[in-house]
Amino acid sequence: MKLLELKSVGKKFGGVQALSDVNLTVQLGEIYGLIGPNGAGKTTLFNLLTGVYSPDIGEINFDRASLVGLKPHQVASKGIARTFQNIRLFQEMSVLENVMVGCHARTKVGALGAVLKTRASKDEEANIYRQSMAWLAYVGIESEASSLSKNLSYGDQRRLEVARALATQPKLLALDEPAAGMNATETEELKALIKKIRADGVSVLLIEHDVKLIMSLCDRLAVLDYGEKIAEGEPDAVRGDPAVIKAYLGGNLP
């Protein structure tokens, strides 16, 4: 079943055609990879998907509804959660509170409920606390719950971003270069985590530079170059695709 579908999506910034005529589909329960050289348009595609930008042309459908024109917070409540290429945690909040913010999309107590401390608000708050601790345990950093998030190690900050995104209870988790700056052990742990997330029913869209990671993790992947999709398919097929080799190595292998 199709979860996400992009139909001939294009985006221009001034004179730069960042994306043109991009088609891709992510199936439910899939780990889908997106690679390409620097400036290929991967992050632009991410930003179109999550409502930061709106496409000039084309359609973006998610879970049988259009995402075009939705604001980022609306996209989040539709069920797409994301992490950022440069980690964007709420630095002055504790690790636990970061995840609690992630619960915002699925909870609803407002100012009045909070001030009056109604039964419903107390229950919801207890629930948020329980869930957030569970998400911290899920990514394996529950022992850090009360630390300030900016004091976490780099790998743990990445994990916290994932936990925070999962707290929005997404159908699709979009990870923007999660392995950037990680050492080999951390990358292995990340791989295990992504597999676990998929096994628990969340589809994953992954942007990565680490080709080895993408090849070993993804069910299918697409390759972008200069804003165009030049290849799509299973890792083995894409690996041997002449267009891909040209984009990465600048020519055909002998």
Binding site: R88, Q91, E92, L96, H104, A105, G113, A114, A145, T168
Partner: protein, 361 residues
């Protein structure tokens, strides 16, 4: 974790010690005006009243600046709106004399609307740009009040509105001296209790807001707006709510000011007042409710202490007054600000590095 914080944790977890602490605090708050009027003089009770009003203002501004991270340099406008709402609805100006329980919510509501009026067009602005616009807004309100005496006279212009009704409960005018159980209570003294009560409610509301879903959303917006949006936070609504709620407290404080003073004029709402309230927030510890309270109480009482002691001290030391206490006040104030920013850039009493694990809703 240090021994001190462990000790504090121990006290917090012990209900009995906590209860005794509250009782002692209560006794201290009740007896403070008696102590002051019998030692340093009755005027000090009045000074205390104004300190409490400023504390309420600072707590309101703390929601906007401290929690949501929106630098507001025109906050005093909401104080003005609240004060004028009270003045127009309970004075001979229009011959209206509504009771306090009707005006207080009206004043708060009108201030909240002005909060949204300021918030809506500035949603996309941050930092310096927001500060400039809010500064302009504060001045616009003041200039409006100053000029609204023609073509139709609403505010009396620079002359201000006089003979504003005080709070009247069961026929008793709270600004007059009353005798209860053989003890004389001056108007300032009675107002003190009213203000303490309202300030406690304000603190309670602020604490509950901070530890709620909304409070976390505010802080998330302050820390990283894009990430907050990605978490499903409607940053527009959350920011507007911060402006509206902050303005509400400003409006209530303004109404109380008008009723205590019995007189309002535009010159009470100048830019310097906005900056003073902001200083209370920053000096005390932005985003930390009790730090902000401390900042407000210090910045309102210390200048008064200086005013009453600077001249006598100079006379006894040098035989004459060389520096006018008013000039000295600004000098020391500037010095104190610079010192605090150098030594304690997060304020005198910043929050204990955010909330710990103990919060289970």
């Amino acid at each position: 974790m240090s021994i001190i914080s462990k000790g504090i944790e121990k006290i917090r977890s012990n209900k009995r010690i906590l209860f005794i602490g509250y009782v002692l605090l209560g006794i201290a708050l009740v007896s403070l005006p008696f102590l002051l009027s019998n030692t340093v003089g009755r005027t000090w009770v009045r000074i205390l009243d104004f300190a409490l009003i400023y504390a309420m203002l600072a707590l309101g501004l703390n929601i906007v600046v401290g929690f949501a991270g929106l630098l507001d340099l025109g906050y005093i406008a909401f104080y003005a709106v609240g004060a004028y709402a009270w003045a127009l609805l309970a004075s001979p100006q229009f011959g209206l004399h509504l009771p306090f329980w009707a005006i207080l919510p009206i004043g708060a509501g009108v201030a909240a609307i002005f909060g949204i009026l300021l918030g809506a067009p500035t949603l996309r602005l941050r930092g310096d740009y927001l500060a400039i616009v809010t500064l302009g807004f504060g001045e616009i309100i003041r200039i409006f009040l100053n000029n609204l005496d023609h073509p139709v006279n609403v505010t009396n212009g620079p002359i201000g509105i006089n003979k504003i009704d005080p709070i009247v409960i069961a026929g008793a005018d709270l600004t007059r001296t009353h005798e209860i159980l053989g003890i004389q209570f001056s108007g300032a003294h009675i107002y003190y209790y009213v203000l303490v009560l309202l300030l406690m409610i304000t603190v309670l509301i602020c604490v509950r807001l901070e530890n709620s879903r909304l409070g976390r959303a505010w802080i998330a917006v302050r820390e990283d707006e894009l990430a907050a949006q990605a978490m499903g936070i409607n940053t527009r609504n959350v920011k507007l709510l911060a402006f509206a709620l902050g303005a509400t407290f400003g409006g209530v404080a303004g109404g109380l000011f008008a009723s205590l003073q019995g007189f309002v004029s535009p010159e009470s709402f100048v830019l310097l007042e906005s900056i003073m309230v902001l200083c209370m927030v920053v000096l005390g510890g932005m985003g930390h409710i009790f730090g902000v309270l401390l900042g407000a109480l210090l910045l309102t009482t210390l200048p008064e202490i200086l005013r009453s002691t600077a001249s006598p001290i100079q006379e006894s030391l040098f035989g004459a007054v060389y520096i006018d206490p008013e000039a000295l006040r600004m000098l020391l104030f500037g010095l104190a600000l610079i010192l605090v920013m150098l030594v304690r850039p997060t304020g005198l009493w910043p929050g204990t590095t955010r909330k710990q694990l103990g919060n289970k809703g």
